[in-house]
């Protein structure tokens, strides 16, 4: 999907439009007519709201009991408040990290898991030694379609410190009762808990990586073998470059997803930030500002900070892509 973004495009100039033949004009009119639902939707539900939230962020705008307050321009006040907001940067009284650092800290655990687990599963599914791989790939994908709230409840039960199967299994393996993790209620275990809950969503990435693996021409492996490459070398020099576009695709989507992560802490720890403020993710804070406290203007300022951050990170990732993502047929794109 992202190759499309790397492909160059030319913005039409006025001259192009002026020099169009009647036939071309007709084609343009029809084409625009067919994409008009999206064009209209983009303007009304995307572009205008983006501009509106930028304007909101310079105002004082709240909803109280379903009634919108009279908007009032306050200049940079929301951004000043944001720069001094302990909840974002330092975590304030709770003594834990700020929301932004919580998000990044969680990403340091969840991103590697989100790439390596599906990659390993895909390699397993692609193994000639696996019998019934069609069945297995469906079965590993299946939890992906389970409603998110239900999945969180299932894992919440599995990871219940007293009655959950995970701690029962740990105790059966000889871990003393006092040593078993308190999972979602323990500051040190709550991120691993969320990561475990997230593993159920790997099915999508696994299938994409598997399709990438199946697209690697066997002749390349044969050539590597003739050159005397061992298994690791052939993975490093054949498999990895050939599937780097799908890894890149999953990495970018995971990062964009990470920056918007808040539904799991919202459901598992009721959006309270418990234990000890460790789960007050940036988007959870944003959600509470916007939805619970209905502060549209400060929420918009928070959303714009997020927007700029995601933009920087995405542009950075696409910038590094030229060094490690290999698009066959286009040289290094």
């Amino acid at each position: 999907m992202f190759e499309e973004l790397n492909r160059g495009f030319q913005l039409p100039t006025l001259k192009t439009f002026r020099n169009m033949s009647p036939l071309k004009r007709r084609e343009m009119r029809d084409g625009l007519l067919f994409i008009s639902p999206w064009l209209f939707g983009f303007l009304v539900f995307t572009l205008l709201p983006i501009i509106a939230s930028l304007i909101f962020s310079f105002m004082d705008l709240k909803i109280t009991d379903g009634i919108l307050s009279t908007p009032d321009f306050v200049g940079l006040k929301n951004y000043q408040q944001m720069l001094n907001d302990p909840q974002i940067w330092t975590g304030g009284e709770s003594g834990t990290a700020g929301s932004l650092w919580i998000t990044i800290k969680f990403g340091l655990i969840s991103l590697p898991v989100g790439i390596f687990v599906p990659l390993i599963l895909a390699l397993l599914m692609n193994s000639p030694n696996l019998k019934g791989s069609m069945f297995f790939r469906s079965a590993f994908y299946m939890p992906y379609i389970i409603p998110f709230v239900a999945a969180v409840f299932l894992w919440g039960g599995m990871l219940n410190p007293e009655t959950g199967w995970i701690n029962r299994a740990l105790m059966a393996m000889g871990v003393p009762r006092a040593m078993v993790p308190n999972w979602a209620n323990d500051v040190n275990w709550v991120y691993p808990t969320y990561v475990i809950m997230g593993i159920w969503g790997v099915g999508n990435a696994m299938l994409i990586m598997l399709a990438g693996l199946q697209g690697v021409p066997t002749s390349l492996y044969d050539a590597a073998k003739v050159d005397g490459a061992n298994a690791w070398q052939s993975f490093r020099n054949v498999t990895f470059p050939m599937i780097s576009p799908v890894i890149f695709y999953n990495l970018v989507l995971s990062v964009v997803f990470l920056f918007q992560y808040f539904l799991v802490p919202l459901v598992v720890n009721n959006g309270t930030g418990r234990p000890g403020g460790a789960t007050m993710f940036y988007n959870l804070y944003l959600y509470k500002t916007f939805f619970t406290f209905q502060n549209m203007s400060y929420g918009s300022a928070l959303a714009w900070l997020l927007f700029v951050l995601i933009l920087i990170v995405t542009v950075f990732m696409f910038g590094t892509a030229r060094y490690w993502v290999y698009y066959a047929g286009e040289g290094r794109a």
Binding site: P12, F34, W38, L39, F40, F136, M142, I146, W200, L306
Partner: protein, 352 residues
């Protein structure tokens, strides 16, 4: 030759065995859910109760149901040499010794064993209860939720299907200046954080009185989205243009070409979108949460299920029963339409 064969057999057994173990661990929460949802509240509170739904064993004795205990037989009068444990029913409780009877050997009658009955384990009988499902069904008004969720899924799927087909056709079959730029804009919208657009949109819908109704969730789906448009456009591009052109020479309009030439050939991609979108809408939580939380009657199942955490925090059997009732529909759909899911993912993720 034989050693090679042996080695591959060994590799198959190892890899397949490993995968089975991984899969069992991966899917074990389903077993947890089913088992827990079939347990009685009494079983939940007893420490050391089995993980499968069970109740303490009882036997009928002289017309009464009597509790059973696991007794070491060598403590009992008349069977001192028997080293096994047996399930006996407790007839008369005593501090140091109690009177028991053996349900598998009723002729033996009552006999005394020198054990403190309070320290004995109790045997468990497999005994699933369906009461949890009944309770959840009634508390959350399950038929109502099913209807709400189905309605939401169908309405939005129709919107996505119509709008994405038209837009994908426009992007794949028409050449006009600026098209590639617009397509890049379309794809870039997937990087946009939801809140940047949600806050003003919500404020606007609040102002025109749509908050609390289905409209803010359904109307925008009629204006196409990046993923489904991309999927359909990729599919359209694999269909040769010759047939379009033949149809146009015969006088077919552009819309007629889409309807009679492209769509009949695109049913795998269309079905992929339908199944994806039904599941997406069924599982959608954030949209209904912000737009419908004030209107209980319109809740879809995911929003209703979320409230369980607060109500039934101490009743895992009801939470798990509710979870099963929420996931059963997408699960059935997945089992029936697996291959369309797989194909759709491969098109979006791998193709250019």
């Amino acid at each position: 030759m034989n050693t090679v064969k042996l080695r591959t057999t060994w590799a198959i057994v190892t890899i397949t065995g490993l995968t089975i173990i991984l899969l069992v661990m991966f899917l074990s929460p389903f077993a947890f859910m089913v088992f827990t949802s079939l347990k009685t509240p009494e079983q939940i509170t007893i420490l050391g109760a089995p993980i499968w739904p069970a109740k303490p064993a009882t036997y009928e004795y002289n017309g009464k149901e009597i509790e059973a205990f696991t007794v070491p037989m060598n403590t009992c009068a008349g069977s001192e040499s028997d080293t096994s444990n047996k399930s006996l029913i407790l007839i008369k409780k005593g501090l140091k010794e109690s009177t028991f009877a053996d349900p598998s050997d009723p002729d033996r009658g009552e006999f005394v064993c020198t054990v403190a009955w309070r320290s004995l384990d109790r045997p468990w009988q497999f005994a699933p209860t369906w009461a949890n499902y009944k309770e959840v069904w009634n508390t959350i008004n399950y038929p109502r939720l099913l209807w709400n969720t189905t309605f939401y899924a169908i309405a939005t799927t129709i919107g996505v299907l119509i709008s994405c087909t038209l837009v994908a056709y426009g992007f794949s079959r028409f050449d006009f200046p600026g098209r590639d730029f617009l397509f890049i804009v379309l794809i870039s919208t997937i990087f946009l954080p939801a809140f940047v657009t949600v806050i003003p949109t919500y404020t606007f819908f609040q102002k025109i009185g749509w908050v609390g109704t289905w409209l803010p969730l359904i109307v925008p789906t009629f204006f196409a989205n990046a993923f489904d448009t991309f999927l359909l456009r990729q599919y359209f591009m694999t269909i040769p243009r010759d047939m379009d052109e033949a149809a146009m020479i015969d006088g077919a309009s552009r819309f007629r070409v889409l309807w009679s030439v492209l769509l009949p050939q695109s049913y795998p991609a269309l079905l992929a979108i339908v199944v994806f979108h039904i599941v997406y809408a069924w599982n959608d939580f954030f949209g209904p949460l912000i737009y419908l939380s004030t209107n209980r009657d319109a809740w879809p199942i995911s929003v209703a299920l979320q409230t369980f955490n607060g109500i039934y925090g101490q009743k895992p059997q009801l939470i798990q029963a509710g979870a099963l009732m929420a996931l059963i529909a997408p699960l059935i759909l997945f089992v029936l339409a697996q291959r369309f899911f797989v194909r759709g993912i491969v098109i979006t993720g791998v193709e250019k």
